[in-house]
C-alpha cells in the first residue's frame, strides 16, 4: 500500500516476496535513471537556452571516456539484474519433489481442475496452505494461460502438450485465477478463484466433496476398458511398471525419457517412437480418449512406480 493505494497484489505464495524485491529494485533503478535524464535535460535546457540570435554554440564532437562510462555502467547494471532475475527464475521453476499433483484442463472458456483424490472442480481450485502443489496442464482447444497474480505464477496452457507450474500458498484466502492468454470471445470471463484453506479445513472440504474414482483408479479402469492390458499386461507390449521417468531404448538405437510428453505421444501416435524389441502393432487412440482420460492413464502409469530420475524436470 502506498498512501492507501495498492501497488502490488497480495503476497500469498512462497515466491511472491522474492519477485516483489526484484520489482522494487528495478523500479528504483528506473526512477533513478529517469530522474537523471529528466533533470539533466531540464538543467541544460535552462542553462543553455538561446539568449540571442547571433549566439553560436560551442561545437563538441564527443568524448570517449563519457561513451565508455555510459556503456559500461548500464552494462554492469543489466548484468547484475540478469543474474539476480535468472537465478530467481531457475529456483522458481523447479517444483519441490514432494508436490501434490493437480491436473488442469483449459477449454473455451472454463477451467477444469482434478485432484488426485478424484475430486473435480470447475473454475475453483481448493488447496491447503503450506503444501507445494504442482499443476500439470493441457488445453482442449486453443492456448490458455493459468495466471494467479497473488502467487506471481503464470504459464501457458497449450493444446497437444503438457506444461506445468507449481506454487506453495502461504496465506489462506481466495485469490483471482485469470486466463492470461487471449483465447477468444469470452476470454475475460475465463476467470476463477484459488481458495487457500487451513489443512484441517481442506481435509474437511475434501472429504465432504463428491468424489469420483481417484485419478489412478480411473486410469486403471480405462487400461482394461480400452484393452491396453491385452498387450501391455502380457509382454506383447512394454510393461508399465517403473516406466515413468525411466530411459526407454528405441528401435532406432536412441533413448528417450519417459515423461508425460512421451507417454501422451505413444498413446496418440504409437508409431512415432517404437520401443526396442517390440513390433509396431499398437493402434492409435487419437480421437477415442479425451484429454481427461489421457491424464487418468498417465496418473495410472505413474502410480505403477516411477524411476528415481524424476521426469519432472521442467
Amino acid at each position: 500500500m502506498w498512501f492507501g493505494f495498492p501497488i502490488r497484489p497480495e503476497q500469498a505464495s512462497t515466491i511472491a516476496e522474492g519477485i516483489d524485491h526484484l520489482y522494487y529494485f528495478l523500479t528504483a533503478m528506473d526512477l533513478f535513471f529517469t530522474a537523471i535524464i529528466f533533470l539533466t535535460i531540464f538543467y541544460f535546457a535552462i542553462r543553455y537556452r538561446r539568449r540571442s540570435k547571433a549566439e553560436t554554440a560551442e561545437q563538441i564532437e564527443g568524448s570517449l571516456p563519457l561513451e565508455v562510462a555510459w556503456t559500461v555502467i548500464p552494462l554492469v547494471l543489466v548484468v547484475v539484474t540478469f543474474v539476480w532475475s535468472s537465478s530467481l527464475f531457475i529456483r522458481n521453476s523447479r517444483p519441490p519433489t514432494a508436490a501434490t499433483e493437480v491436473f488442469v484442463i483449459g477449454k473455451q472458456w472454463m477451467w477444469q481442475l482434478q485432484h488426485p483424490e478424484g475430486v473435480r472442480e470447475i473454475n475453483e481450485l481448493h488447496v491447503p496452505v503450506g503444501r507445494p502443489i504442482k499443476l500439470t496442464m493441457t488445453s482442449e482447444d486453443v492456448i490458455h494461460d493459468f495466471f494467479v497474480p497473488a502467487f506471481r505464477v503464470k504459464k501457458d496452457v497449450v493444446p497437444g502438450r503438457y506444461t506445468s507450474l507449481w506454487f506453495q500458498a502461504t496465506k489462506t484466502g481466495s485469490y483471482h485465477l485469470f486466463c492470461g492468454q487471449y483465447c477468444g470471445v469470452n476470454h475475460a470471463l475465463m476467470r476463477g478463484e484459488v481458495v487457500v484453506m487451513e489443512p484441517q479445513d481442506y481435509e474437511r472440504w475434501l472429504s465432504g466433496s463428491k468424489k469420483a474414482e481417484t485419478m489412478p483408479a480411473a486410469g486403471a479402469r480405462l487400461y482394461e476398458q480400452y484393452a491396453c492390458i491385452t498387450c501391455h499386461g502380457t509382454g506383447k507390449g512394454p510393461a508399465f511398471n517403473d516406466l515413468y521417468g525411466s530411459q526407454v531404448k528405441l528401435q532406432d538405437g536412441k533413448t528417450v525419457l519417459a515423461d508425460e510428453e512421451y507417454l501422451r505421444e505413444s498413446i496418440l501416435f504409437p508409431s512415432a517412437k517404437i520401443v526396442a524389441g517390440y513390433d509396431p502393432i499398437m493402434p492409435t487412440f487419437k480421437g477415442q480418449l479425451t484429454e481427461e482420460q489421457i491424464l487418468q492413464l498417465l496418473a495410472y502409469i505413474k502410480s505403477l512406480g516411477a524411476t528415481e530420475r524424476k521426469a519432472a524436470q521442467e
Binding site: I7, Y23, F44, E55, A57, F82, S86, L88, V142, G180
Partner: protein, 540 residues
Amino acid sequence: MSTTAVEATTGVNYLNAKYGIRSWLFTTDHKRIALLYLVSITFFFLIGGAAAVLMRLHLIEPQGALLEPATYNKMFSMHGIIMVFFFLIPSIPAVMGNFLVPMMVGARDLAFPRVNLLSWYIYILGGLFTLYAILAGGVDTGWTFYTPLSTTYANGQVMAAALGIFITGFSSILTGLNFVVTIHKMRAPGLTWFRLPLFIWAMYATSIIQILGTPVVAIAIVLVGLERLLHVGIFDPALGGDPILFQHLFWFYSHPAVYIMILPSMGVVSELITCFSKKRIFGYSFIAFSSVAIAVISFLVWGHHMFVSGQSVYAGLVFSALSFAVAIPSAIKVFNWTATLYKGSVSYQAPMLYALGFIGLFTMGGLTGLFLASLATDIHLHDTYFVIAHFHYIMVGGALMGYLGGLHFWWPKMTGRLYPDGWARFSALVIFIGFNLTFFPQFMLGYLGMPRRYAVYPPEFQVLNVMSSAGASILGVGYLIPLVYFIWSMRYGPVAGPNPWGAKGLEWETPSPPPTENFEELPIVEEEAYAYGVKEARVV
C-alpha cells in the same frame, strides 16, 4: 537552361508543377508519393484511434460500459492491426523517408521511382483488404493471430485481414529495398558514410529489418491460410501441428518490427536535437553504430515473447540475456542526445519540444522493458497491462512523438508554409501530459495483475482504468489539434522560406517546397553532418 532552373526562378515546385488527380495517382516523384502516404496513414491513424477511443470508454466500468465482449475483442484487434501495420510501420519511413532520403543524400529521386509508386499501391491494396475485413464483420484474433485460435476457432474475417497484412508487407519490403539502393548508390559526391545525417543511418538500419524480417511474417500468414482454408496441419495439434511454431515465426518478424517503428524516430530526433541546439551531434559514430547494433540484436530476442509458453529454461535464459543487451545501445543513444544539449544554443520551437518529449517517454519505455527482459518479473507481468503500457511508451511515446516532431520540423519544407508555433507547442505539451496520464496507470494495473485484452474486469481495477480513460481523452485532443492547424497552414500559414530553422542538411539548401527535381544542380558535399559551427553552408 534545365527544367529545374526554370522552376527555381519561376516559383514552380513539385506541388504546383502539375495539376489534377492523375498527376498525383501516376506520379513517380518521391515527394508526391510521400504526401500520398501522409494522407493514407493519417486516414488509418484516425480509424485506429477511433477504436482506441471506444475501448477506453468501454473500460470505464468493470462490467464494460459500451460494448459486447465480442465487439470489444474486435476493437482491440482492429486497433492493433491498423496501428501497427498501416500506421506505425509505414509512418516515418514511407512519409519522411520517402520525402527526405533522396534530398538528404543529394539525389533527384529514389533509385527506383516507379517501384516507389508501386509500393504505395500495394499498401493501399492491403489497406482495402483490411478495411473490408473490418466492414464485413471484423476480426477478433488480436493483431498477433495466435494459433490455433486464428486457424481453427476464430470466426470472422481472419483471412481478409491476414491477406491485407501479407500484401502490405511487400510495400514495406520494396520501400526498404529502394532506400538501401539509394543510400548505397546515389549519395552526392563527397557525401561519405560518416557524413550522412543520422536520419539516413536510421533509415538504413530500418530498411535492412524490413527486407529481412517481413518475408518471415508473410510466410507465417501463408501457413495460417493453408491451415485455416485447407486444414493442412501446421499449427493446430488436432491436425498434428505445433501451436508454438507460429509464435516463433510471428515474433521473429514482429519483434524486429518494433525497431522498424522506433529506429526512424531515433533518426528524426538526432536531426531535431542538433538543429535546435545549433550543435553537431555528440558522439556521431556511437549513435550511428548503436542503430546498427539495435537492428542486429533485434533479430535475436523474439523468444522473450514466449517466456511463459513452456519454452525451456535455457532458451529463456539466452533470450533474456539478449533482450537485456538491447538496453545498452538504447542507453547510449539517450545519453548522447542529452549530451548534445550541453553548451548548445538551445531554442524551443515545437519540433524541439516533441524531440525532448520523445527522449523522456522513450527513456521510460526502454527502462520498463527491463522488467520484461528479466525472467522472474516477466512471469508475473507477461500479458498484463504492464506490457501494454511498456510498448505504448515505446511505440506511441517514442515512435509517434518522433513522427510528429519530424512532421513539424519538415512541414515547412513539404508545404512551403509555417504552422502557428504557439499552438504546436501547446499540442506537444498536451500530448506529453495526456500520454502519461493514459499509460502510467497501466503500469500499476499490470503489476496488480490485470490481464490485457479483458472486456470485463474485477472491480478493484476500476480506479486506475478510469484514470487511464480520462488521460486518453486529453491525449485524443492533443492529436486533433495538429490536424487542424496543419490543414489551416497549407492555405493560410506564413511562407516558410527555404530554411526557417537555420538547419543544416542538403534538404534545406533548396527552395520550400522543393522543385520537382529537388536541386537545381546536384550538390557536392564538403563538410561533416551537423556542421553548425561553420558559418556558411559549403555547398557548391
